[in-house]
Each structure stands twice: as C-alpha cells, then as structure tokens.
Symmetry: C2
Subunit: 179 residues, 2 copies
Amino acid sequence: MPNDKNTDTIRQNAGPARPIDPTDRRILAALTTRADLSYAELGQEVGLSAPAVHERVKRLKASGVIEATVARIDGAAIGKPLLAFIHVNTVGWGKTPELMALCDLPEVEEMHSVTGDACVLIKARLADSAALEGFLARLYDLPGVSSTQTYVALSSFTERVPQAGITESLSAPLPIRRR
Amino acid sequence: MPNDKNTDTIRQNAGPARPIDPTDRRILAALTTRADLSYAELGQEVGLSAPAVHERVKRLKASGVIEATVARIDGAAIGKPLLAFIHVNTVGWGKTPELMALCDLPEVEEMHSVTGDACVLIKARLADSAALEGFLARLYDLPGVSSTQTYVALSSFTERVPQAGITESLSAPLPIRRR
DNA sequence: ATTGAAATTTTGCATTG
DNA sequence: CAATGCAAAATTTCAAT
C-alpha cells in the first residue's frame, strides 16, 4: 500500500459519507495485520479488483477511519525490553501541562486519563530497571503527583492495534444469574 | 513500502548480524510514524539513496526488528469508542488456557502478565458499557478468576507503537536526594 | 466495479568509491 | 563493504466500458 500523497483528495478527516460495510471491515481486518499487501493481493482476499479496493482504501483514509500506516518494531531489538504500566495519582486536577509533556518522550507509548483509583495511566517501554527508576523519579518531580503504582509486564500474550472485527458490536444482553 | 514477499530472503527472525546504527534508528523512527513512504522519500529523510534504504529496511525486516507493517484505525469509527484496562486476579496460577483464549477476541488488544497487585492486565476496546459488562461477565465465568478491576479511559493523550528513539538507553544514574 | 493500459515505483545488478 | 546509477519488473492508478 503506497503513498497516495498525490492522488488523495485534499480533505482530511471528513465525516464518513458512507457507512462502513462488511467489505470495508474485511479490508480493515486485513490491513491491521498486514498493511504492506499490494492492492491486487488485498483485492483477492476480499473478492474485489485492485482498483476497487484502492478506491475503498482511499475513502477509508480520507474519512479518517485509517489514521496511519505504521511499522511495528520489536521493543527488545531496539534496546527497550521492559514494558511497564504506571498508574499516576495526583492531588487536584491531574491534567497539568508538565504531565502532558511526558507524551513527547519516546519511552511513553500511551497516556490516558482513566476512571477508577488512578488519575492517569501511562504505558512506557524502557531499557532496564534503572531507566524505570529514572522515569519514576521524573514523574515524582512533577507538581501534583502524589503517588504511582507500577505494573511491569512479565510476558505479553497479545499486543496489537485496534481490530476491526467482522461483527458489529454484539453487546449481548446479560442473562440474570441466580446464586 | 511494498510487498517484499518475493525478494526477501527466506529466513525470518535471525539474530541481527549487525548492530542497529543511528541511520537505522532514523529509518525506524520515520517508519513508526509513516510506513507508507516511498523508498525515495524515506531515503531523502535519512540522507540515503532509494536502493540504500531499501537494503537497510530489508535487513531490519529479515532480522525481526520490523515485525510488521500495520494500519492504525480509529476505534470510534469502527464502533468501539470505549477503551478499558482491566486488571484480573486469579486464584493459583493465572495463565490458564481459558484466559489465554481471550487473545482471540477482537476486543482484546493487549494481554500481559504483570507484577504488582494484579495477575493479568487486559486492554480492551469495546462498543459501549453493555459490551464492557458482557466482557466482564465472561471474564468472571473463567475458572480461577477471583476479581477484576476496570479502568475506563476518559481521554487518550497519546497512543502509538513502540518508538525507536534516536538516543540509546540513557538510563541516567539517579541522584540521591536528601529530604 | 471491472478491464486494459500508462505512469511511478520498487528492486536487482553491475559499478564505483 | 556499502552506496550509486541504471534498467527490468511490478504496482499503482487512470480512463472507459
């Protein structure tokens, strides 16, 4: 899947003029696994010709459904074998500019504000325990940070980008269970 | 960045015969942001010719540093606006086949065993609170699952794939601070 | 949405520094 | 040993059915 810089229409992020149909979902499902397929191969997988899938992929990009195409690299191979989830608690409103600035660090892969007994959740990939210690020290230096709790990953069973399931949200109504 | 299915040498995951030099890191940094660059463009960014970067990218793929190229899609656009981190506690050894089977669900984006006051950490993307309730119910149905704790993301400040920082692990030795 | 064809791009190879 | 320039092959992408 190539450049598309010259062929795409100018508008980025326009509301999806057309809903995402099952064929789109199959395309997305394929692309979240292998985005380096040729349009011919992708077309084969979903039963469409190359120009047809190209047209759809272009639409999915223009409408913002496909945000980007990125390379997934091995954390250990680039010297960061340590994966940690860090819960941060703050006094008062936690969304300070200083905390937000952590997003610019290459170690920080994710940062969310969350409900529950923590204010902010950070996913960080680090070189070793010394780097983790340094990161935590930096965290505690920030104004308002009252406590942290760290969860270090021992093994990762799956780790991937958002998956476009073929099925639409089948939020099954919960059966009532008598105890 | 194209197919490479026919041109790559057969071996997958061989030990990196050569260390990752700064140029490799710059290539990786570019590719984790935009993997749909042409080799000509990528070469311009790192100051190399197209065949030269192609050679390096091929090596990085063959050695397993680049695991895959994937499309990042918008969770909300595919009907899953709800992001949740779920801590799972189990009685006894938590890594049961039943729990591992959850990796096959499209809702489950990540699953790690972790240190700390939880056994397993799951990152799931869901349609709505009903879907979350259903997911938790399913979790509690598994043998050995004793409790869960859920953190729902209110807003995400950053969310990306592992970043190849230009700098090598600069785990600065921590200064001793007197209180 | 498909077919066929043109324009870019990828990509192997020989050459050179 | 790695980068460069050229040429062949493949892919993207346009126009018309």
